[in-house]
């Protein structure tokens, strides 16, 4: 399944919260991705989940909780199957992974799932993006946290995110 623009921009979260749709390049650069030319020349639009959470917390009002950084929709070739992919950008982490806490990641996933609701099925893998030289270490860390097969947390770098979903 690959990126699906209409499902992304028409998700109710994006419709209800103003200004949460953003070009993935600018969001990634703000979160620490360093690149010369934009990695995504098509300027694909994603939902900024931090902005969604800020908006929702303001409306209630309540204290903000942790959330994944972005979400976008993917669909099968025939457009019948659609899912929302949750992504968190860990590009500023380093030099080691010691600052990554399991509870914080779990909170991000749980809260972002609540935010997206059941409107579109949520993709089974939660994606965490690292600088390339930390991807395998993160994979090991996730396996240590939750040594189950096909664990839900997947580590990859930006290039792999692009090749997998775009």
């Amino acid at each position: 399944m690959k990126y699906c623009y209409p499902t992304t921009i028409n998700h109710s979260v994006a419709s209800l919260c103003p200004n949460v749709l953003e070009n993935i390049n600018s969001l990634a650069v703000r979160e620490g991705f360093m690149t010369g030319a934009p990695l995504f020349p098509q300027m694909e639009i994603v939902i900024n989940m931090d902005d969604v959470e800020a908006h929702n917390a303001y409306l209630v009002p309540r204290k903000q909780v942790r959330s994944m950084d972005l979400a976008f929709a993917i669909s099968s070739q025939d457009k019948r199957t659609k899912e929302m992919v949750l992504v968190d950008l860990k590009l500023n982490v380093g030099p080691s992974l010691s600052s990554i806490l399991k509870d914080e990641l779990v909170e991000k996933i749980v809260e972002s799932r609540k935010t997206l609701g059941n409107e579109v099925k949520i993709h089974g893998q939660y994606i965490f993006i690292f600088q390339t030289n930390l991807v395998e270490q993160a994979r090991r860390l996730f396996f240590k946290w939750n040594p189950r097969l096909d664990g839900e947390n997947t580590s990859m770098d930006m290039d792999r995110l692009k090749s997998t979903y775009f």
Binding site: V135, E136, R140, F143, L149, D150
Partner: protein, 450 residues
């Protein structure tokens, strides 16, 4: 990048296709089983053992070549006992003989320049032979002529046998040929002294042939110190290294207390562990005692009544035979004993295969921390082969925190196609490719698990 202290380049040896390994501080190699990591460990160990102890090894070889002279003199001593009741004379000759076989005889004269100390030892051998000659000449007119003649005949045949290896003949009419035996000893000393000057690499090659069955040698084996070639199998020369004066190889903590093995580096290590000496890094030894094993390891006094060599005194005062303690404790005990007896210093290369073996994950991190601290504060150089993600990441990130990351070198043995050969890729301070290799295990669990 600064000039590396030591660089080992080897190609075409067992599973190693190509390896170009820098030893500057802490070097860590990772790779599958049978990728040649232990081969590299042994190459390094025997290289530095040979190059750094060249003179002592030549002396060992000389003693071996003089083995038959010693046996001849020992036999002669028994004959002396049979025809004289002079106990003082027998004791004197016995003590002289024993002294000649002492392995550290040469080192006892280490304050002298090299040529002089060899001369001192040679003179001692010749003096003992002269003394035996005098004694036999004095008693050749013994009362019991017939018995004496038979004994002299036997000694002559033994002498003829040992002199044959030096192509020296003795005539029928000759009495015991002590002068020719003296010449034989002089010749062997001359040969050994020449070796210490020209330093041919035969000792190293012999060591390799003994360690690796099959007798094959690496196609390329070159060692550089500050990029200056010091060892090469092509150029028959083994320059003494400056940066590394002793190498220690630990492949299992189970080695502690093994009295005698067929494995040379085990015996070498046990000899070191039993050594007495003064430590210069007691703070690190204290760290092991207070923060990790919560106890103290020591070698028992040779005169004590203790049956066993090593003791572990736990923090609560209980004392145990170290050999009965947990294997993990032994891993740290080896480091502590080496620290306590001054075997570790800035000219030491400590080679450890899989230091994580037998350790609880928490102690794996503590061990990694010790490696970094020993490198930082004592200047000890390490060559580590590891299969453990925690060990690898702890060495990297603790080194970064302690400010010694610039002397850190990681290598990954990368398989070449479907062959059984590996190239050692230099990763610098990056460890993610090593984790990529470790993570194959996760894929295998997925493949085989439910």
């Amino acid at each position: 990048m600064s000039v590396p202290q030591i660089r080992l380049k080897t190609e075409g040896f067992r599973a190693i296709n190509k390896a170009n390994i820098i030893i500057d501080g802490i070097t860590v190699v990772a790779g599958e089983n049978s990728s040649g990591k232990s081969t590299l460990s042994k190459l390094l160990y025997y290289l530095f053992k040979t190059a750094s102890n060249y003179e002592a090894l030549v002396y060992d070889e000389l003693l071996d070549k003089l083995r038959n002279v010693y046996r001849f003199l020992d036999t002669a001593l028994h004959e002396v006992s049979s025809f004289t009741g002079d106990r003082a004379l027998r004791d004197e000759l016995y003590n002289e003989l024993r002294y000649l076989r002492k392995k550290n005889f040469l080192l006892e004269n280490s304050d002298e320049p090299q040529a002089e100390r060899w001369q001192v030892v040679q003179e001692r051998w010749l003096a003992v032979i002269r003394r035996f000659s005098d004694v036999f000449n004095q008693y050749s007119e013994a009362k019991d002529k017939d018995r004496m003649t038979a004994r002299i005949k036997r000694l002559k045949l033994i002498a003829a046998d040992l002199l044959e290896s030096g192509n020296i003949e003795i005539s029928e009419s000759e009495f015991l040929p002590f002068d020719k035996i003296g010449k034989f000893v002089e010749y062997r000393f001359k040969e050994a002294k020449g070796k210490t000057k020209s330093r041919p690499n035969t000792l190293f090659i012999e060591a390799l042939k003994n360690v690796f069955s099959g007798g094959e040698l690496p196609k390329i084996f070159e060692v550089y110190e500050f990029e200056d070639p010091i060892v090469s199998l092509v150029n028959d020369h083994l320059k003494p290294p400056y940066s590394i004066a002793n190498s220690i190889y630990i492949d299992t903590p189970m080695i502690i207390g093994v009295e005698s093995s067929e494995i040379e580096y085990w015996d070498d290590l046990n000899e070191l562990l039993n050594k007495r000496g003064k430590s210069f890094f007691s703070e690190i030894s204290q760290t092991i005692s207070n923060e990790i094993i919560h106890g103290d390891v020591s070698v028992n006094d040779v005169n004590s009544l203790a049956v066993d060599n090593f003791s572990f005194k736990r923090a609560d005062g209980s004392i145990f035979n170290l050999l009965d303690c947990a294997t993990g404790v032994k891993s740290f005990a080896i480091l502590q004993l080496l620290l306590k007896n001054g075997s570790l210093n800035d000219k030491t290369l400590l080679i450890i295969d899989e230091p994580e073996s037998h350790l609880h994950p928490q102690w794996i991190i503590e061990y990694a921390r010790l490696i970094v601290l020993l490198n930082k504060h004592a200047g000890i150089k390490f060559f580590i082969a590891s299969h453990n993600p925690d060990m690898v990441s702890a060495i990297k990130y603790i080194s970064a925190k302690e400010g010694v990351e610039d002397k850190l070198h990681f290598y990954l043995a990368a398989k070449i196609g479907d062959s059984y050969l590996y190239d050692y890729e230099h990763l610098g301070t990056e460890i993610d490719p090593i984790f990529g290799s470790f993570n194959i295990a996760i894929d295998r669990i997925k493949l085989y698990g439910v």
